[in-house]
């Protein structure tokens, strides 16, 4: 059965750590860093459950700063 696999790439330097992508993701793929911060001092979003991402792009759609690029690949 065809299955959608996705991946997100976060521009971590542009990210302001608003957490809206984390909330929007239906599969808990993303989380904010707890320790690491970017050059502006924000905790930033990153993938924590890469395998589960389907590439639905909800995270990127709600991101106010356009930090997220989403890729999707159909697998058999």
């Amino acid at each position: 059965m065809a299955k959608m696999k996705g991946a997100t790439v976060v521009d971590t330097e542009r990210c302001k750590g608003c957490n809206l992508c984390v909330v929007a993701c239906p599969l808990d793929v993303l989380a904010l860093t707890t320790k690491e911060v970017n050059r502006k001092g924000y905790n930033y979003a990153h993938e924590v459950l890469s395998d589960t991402c389907t590439g639905c792009a909800s995270c990127a759609t709600v991101c106010p700063d356009g930090c997220i690029t989403v890729y999707r690949l159909k697998t058999e």
Binding site: G6, K16, K40, V62, P64, G66, V70, R72, L73
Partner: protein
């Protein structure tokens, strides 16, 4: 299948519109402005109007909108954007002309310019960000501040006896003969964002088809001014703002013809 393989072989399903440049936006984390900037950029790109757009920025949080969206911009005085847009569109009728304004700019100091530009049926679109507060100046009461809502200039909550009622300027706009499309949207969820994008596209198309003036209100959050996290601000907006500011189309005369 590794993440790297998906990135390498997969298709891009979402990326920041190229019209939205790489300059970091000054908006607070989670601010609705960013989402609307993306939508406006996407629509201009998709319509192929990059080289034919003239935008007018307000005074307020979006004063620097011109730094982020790569079209020609005019930075107006507080509230006057619709006057600039009226002249610009009349002088360059084949250009896409829109203003981008907040509630203080549009519904308070610029009420006259807004109402009259809309009622003259200027073939422009007004994007109206309503977060019920003056964000840039530090969270003061706006004409659209809800009753009971606390701001820096109504710290005990907005009271009718002191401050009068919140203004539903979009409802007023819908009664004007000059308006073609008047709608109220939000950008707090994926579904809402998709609807808002369609609304902006429709408004821009009507502007170019000469069908009259168009107002797209986006009920928005100001998590800094409201003193909430972006997530909580979205919830608060759903529970409080939408009750007073109903989402949906208020008027659409463009489609009937």
């Amino acid at each position: 299948m590794t993440r790297e393989e998906i990135i390498e072989k997969g298709q891009v399903v979402y990326k920041k519109p190229t019209l939205l440049n790489d300059t970091p936006m000054h908006y607070c984390p989670g601010c609705s402005h960013g989402v609307v900037h993306k939508l406006v950029s996407e629509v201009i790109e998709e319509m192929g109007m990059t080289d034919k757009t003239i935008a007018i920025s307000p005074v307020g949080c979006a004063v620097f909108a011109y730094k982020y969206i790569d079209v020609d911009w005019q930075e107006a005085a507080h509230g006057r954007a619709p006057a600039l847009a009226s002249a610009t569109k009349r002088l360059w009728p084949d250009r896409l002309v829109f203003t981008y304004q907040g509630d203080g700019d549009l519904a308070c100091i610029g009420t006259a310019e807004t109402i009259h530009a809309l009622n003259r049926a200027e073939n422009i679109t007004i994007i109206f960000i309503n977060n019920a507060i003056y964000g840039m100046t530090g969270g003061q009461m706006a004409p659209t501040t809800l009753l009971g809502m606390k701001t820096a200039t109504c710290p005990y909550g907005r009271e009718v006896s002191l401050h009068g009622y919140p203004l539903k300027i979009t409802e007023i706009a819908a009664t004007l003969d000059g308006t073609c499309y008047v709608t109220r949207q939000a950008v707090h969820t994926v579904a809402a964002i998709n609807r808002a994008k369609k609304a902006i596209r429709k408004a821009f198309e009507y502007s170019m088809q000469g069908k009259g003036s168009n107002l797209v209100e986006i009920v928005s959050t100001c998590n800094s001014g409201w003193k909430m996290s972006p997530e909580k601000a979205n919830k608060w907006m759903e529970e409080n703002m939408f009750e007073f500011y109903h989402l949906g189309d208020l008027k659409d005369t463009g489609a009937v013809k």
